[in-house]
Subunit: 155 residues, 2 copies
């Protein structure tokens, strides 16, 4: 009985997983996934931005937790910009993503590097270094968004 | 000049953050955030489910990476089920979430505990223990979804 219950639970848990994750990318699921990752990333940037701008007092634990989360998140979305994922659901991804793949990859890697640096700096608890590293990450995010993110979604 | 560029980058990075993160919850943003977290969670469950079901060979690194991600994700969404976030965008969250807050909290904590256990077990690289712990997490996920997740979104 226990074995059956366990197998049923595994099946149930796996049933919640989009087919795309098991059978290769479906554009709509990939678009939703990368938007989800960016949404979680943006939320984690919030309290760090407030601290970097002096709108909130520096809190080393908040900096560490959120920078680690951003580093983790920025490792996730890039495979979901693969061939065939340029359309299928409303998206703000510019078609240049699929035309300038090497340049886009470079921009993505720059953001990942800046996020890893911020997470490392946050562990030191140094407010000044945190603000500088957050600024660098902000520049990397903005640069990629300026080049590859449309102002409005396209279908 | 450097200081100005840095300040501009910080502003730009923070501008990408939803107002909700700075000014308190807006229901639509909270709903989107918790859905984003669950989407990222589901994607991480996929390869682990395949291994647990024997559809993919056990890979300790894949188990470790994805279980750590699920543990991180399950720390995030619960505050976004706060008062006033029961509507505002299509959601599959049952209204019971806001009626049975103590029971919902308990279910959420059970899932977090199971995810933490899975992440700890995955670090040992033991396939059998991983499968058992994944089954336990699956049960916790299913239990909470059975009780609090509607089959279809409501507006």
């Amino acid at each position: 009985m226990k074995r059956i219950a366990l197998a049923a639970a595994i099946l149930a848990a796996t049933a919640a997983v989009p087919a795309s994750a098991q059978q290769g990318p479906k554009p709509e699921a990939e678009i939703r996934y990368r938007q989800s990752v960016m949404n979680v990333t943006g939320r984690a940037m919030g309290p760090m931005g407030a601290m970097a701008q002096g709108k909130a007092p520096f809190n080393a634990a908040v900096a560490q937790k959120n920078s680690a989360l951003v580093e983790t998140m920025l490792g996730l979305p890039w495979d979901s910009f693969g061939p065939g994922t340029d359309k299928g659901a409303p998206t703000r991804a510019d078609l240049k993503v699929w035309k300038e793949t090497a340049k886009f990859k470079q921009a993505a890697e720059a953001a990942q590097k800046a996020a890893a640096n911020l997470a490392a700096v946050a562990k030191t608890g140094d407010e000044g270094k945190f603000k500088a590293a957050f600024g660098e990450l902000g520049k990397a995010c903005s640069s990629c968004h300026d080049d590859y993110q449309l102002k409005q979604p396209r279908s």
